[in-house]
Amino acid sequence: MAPVTAPFRFRHGETEHEVLLVPVGNDDYEVTVLGRTERVRVLRSTEAGLHLAVGGRTLEARLAVASGTVHVHALGCQWELERVASGPAVRRSSEADPADGPVRAVMPGTVARVLVAAGERVEAGQVLVVLEAMKMEHRLGAPFAGEVARVAVREGQQVAMREPLVEIRRPASEGPQGRA
């Protein structure tokens, strides 16, 4: 009986894929995806990728791994496969409602303009920050009307992808105190 191996899991866009890899010889594996099993032989392995025989066909797969993502180029196409830890899928509670968190950078770049200050009232959609990268400007607006609780960046500052920029507080009148 083949040894029991935990499947590899990868996320591609919204879809999660499970790959079962069972070694059956020095360079031979049985690979199962969605109930289909194929015999895969590794013909050559280099820093750039793998030369594989799958069924009766050979192919060159170019590979690169960067920050938890496997980039695969094979059969004339390219895929970004994010490695997912084995075990049952867990939903991350921190991503429950993106509209409630701070306004974050949608791309890495430079803060070109900061158009609001802490304490200022803003309307939904009002532009808060302008980011610039590669001669392209991107305007970030308020997700809802409220008050600017905190401005975390200044003009000219470099920001990373998803870095918090501005925090908006919902108007107090929506809470119970507002009625007193």
Binding site: F8, F10, H12, T15, H17, V19, L21, D27, Y29, V31, V33, R36, E38, V40, V42, S45, T46, E47, A48, G49, L50, L52, V54, L59, A61, R62, L63, A64, V65, A66, V70, H71, V72, H73, A74, L75, G76, C77, Q78, W79, E80, L81, R83, V106, M107, P108, G109, T110, A133, M134, K135, M136, H138
Partner: protein
């Protein structure tokens, strides 16, 4: 001329340095802090720092660049494209510093840099212009009624579509004029604007010219660059699928008339708008080497950058008009670091993988290699993929195969988007105009296919071979074979 300073970065700096070496000249690169150790520095004989990453502090910093030229003992300067290449003041400063400026005379740059003066010259030499008008707001309002809506408002000092507005009806004109003036003042320090009649379904067709100091003037045929996104060219080709020999001869003659009229010298491009009925209108002159010059090089066999060096050195051009017999069809795809599936947001970072295609008729002009970092401070162009084949269908097939072979990881690119462009039936049919991408590929969301077993197997094998926690003892040159499997 012995040592050339290349005042640029990325693929064009690499391209110019290659031409210098081929001509037996030394090449000196310059770099900002963000580009220390970049490919253009590595292929040069020497590279000097010119400032902090922002373009204003480095590649637009005329003082620092001239200082570097002096320090390196350079006797000539090539500006590439963009940055200071069309800055007449800089060209004059380079000459005043005793260096050879590898570009047209500063006065020709100045003349063509003003759209209104350039239009006047075109009219004088009998080249058709899109009917239009200049003047104050009242005069422009009268002119708009005479021309008929829609009209286009353009900045006199503008370029690349900046400050440009289409006005559909009279009610919107005053507001468009005010906004265009404001934008032009902010972007170019000059709020002069003018009006043009709007042309439906225009093609962008340009003619490459080349001239020397001995009266030699050549036109090297056209390029069509209609595939644009927000006035940024994406795919170019030579020849244009829309031209017949008669139209080609007329456009070539018009380009030469303008070039002679402004006392041009060196390589330049005369841009035209081509209407569906075959009428063409002068747009502007680009007084520098163009990004897409390579497609002309493929079909004519002329090395344009080499000719620039020859002309700057005072030599006559290496060929005459009769020596030119364009052959076959060439296509260029611009590989940008951007994410087309996410609104074309720029993408920077470490290039974890870079494999570029090769083969007969395949040329890649790149500014990067694997393990290079793509900075976010500059233009997103990573490389130009250029193919040449006996005819257009063969060139399309060659481009499709080459794009399929390109593998870039670590930054997002538009490679898959380009495959959708060149694979589109309307592109194959030559039905290209500047509205092509908006009409056919708006809201493009990626190829959408799920990975097959082969790709998933390769990914799993890659993960198996590189355990996350590797002990120090494991990491000896004997155990680290460098491959994906132990």
């Amino acid at each position: 001329m012995r040592r050339v300073l290349v005042a640029n970065r990325g693929e064009i700096a690499v391209r110019v340095i290659r031409a210098c070496h081929e001509a037996g000249l030394e090449a000196v690169a310059v770099h900002s802090d963000a580009d220390a150790g970049a490919l253009h520095c590595r292929v040069a004989d020497r590279s000097l720092r010119i400032g902090e990453p922002s373009p204003a502090a480095s590649y637009l910093n005329a003082g620092a660049i001239l200082g570097a030229a002096r320090e390196a003992g350079a006797d000539a300067l090539h500006p590439g494209y963009g940055f200071l290449s069309e800055n007449a003041g800089f060209a004059a400063a380079v000459e005043a510093a005793g260096l050879t400026w590898i570009g047209p005379p500063p006065e020709a740059i100045r003349l063509m840099g003003s759209k209104t003066r350039a239009r006047r010259l075109a009219a004088e030499v009998g080249v058709p212009l899109i009917p239009g008008a200049t003047g104050d707001d009242t005069e422009l309002a009268h002119a708009a009624r005479r021309l008929g809506y829609p009209v286009v408002v353009k900045a006199a000092a503008g370029g690349g579509g900046r400050g440009m507005r289409v006005v559909r009806e009279g009610a919107g004109l005053a507001e468009a004029l005010e906004a265009a003036r404001r934008e032009a003042r902010g972007a170019f320090g000059d709020d002069e604007v003018y009006l043009e009649r709007w042309v439906a379904r225009p093609r962008h067709v340009e003619v490459q010219v080349l001239s020397d100091a001995h009266g030699g003037f050549l036109q090297l045929g056209e390029r069509e660059c209609s595939i644009q996104r927000r006035h940024q060219k994406v795919v170019e080709e030579a020849p244009s699928p829309a031209l017949d020999p008669g139209l080609r001869a007329r456009m070539g003659a018009a380009a030469l008339a303008i070039t002679r009229g402004c006392g041009y010298r060196g390589a330049g491009t005369v841009e035209f708008v081509l209407a569906p009925d075959g009428s063409f209108y002068f747009l502007e002159v680009n007084t520098r080497i163009q990004v897409e010059h390579a497609v002309t090089e493929c079909v004519t066999g002329v090395d344009l950058v080499r000719e620039q060096l020859r002309v700057a050195a005072g030599e006559p051009l290496g060929l005459g008009q009769g020596d030119l017999s364009p052959r076959g069809h060439a296509l260029e795809c611009r590989i940008y670091a951007e994410d087309p599936a996410a609104g074309f947001l720029p993408s920077g970072g470490l290039l974890a993988a870079w494999h570029s295609p090769s083969g007969p008729g395949v040329r890649v002009d790149a500014g990067y290699e694997a393990m290079d970092t793509v900075p976010l401070h500059y233009d997103a162009l990573l490389a130009k993929l250029v193919v040449h084949a006996p005819d257009r269908p063969a060139a399309l097939g060659r481009m499709a195969a080459a794009l399929a072979d390109f593998f870039i990881a670590g930054v997002r690119t538009n490679v898959e988007f380009l495959r959708s462009v060149v694979g589109h039936p309307a592109f194959a049919a030559g039905e290209t105009d500047t509205g092509f991408l908006e009409r056919h590929l708006d809201g493009w969301r990626g190829p959408g296919g799920e990975p097959p077993l082969e790709a998933l197997a390769a990914a799993a094998l890659a993960c198996r071979a590189r355990p996350a926690a590797r002990t120090v003892a494991d990491h000896s040159p004997w155990s680290d074979g460098g491959g994906w499997l132990p």
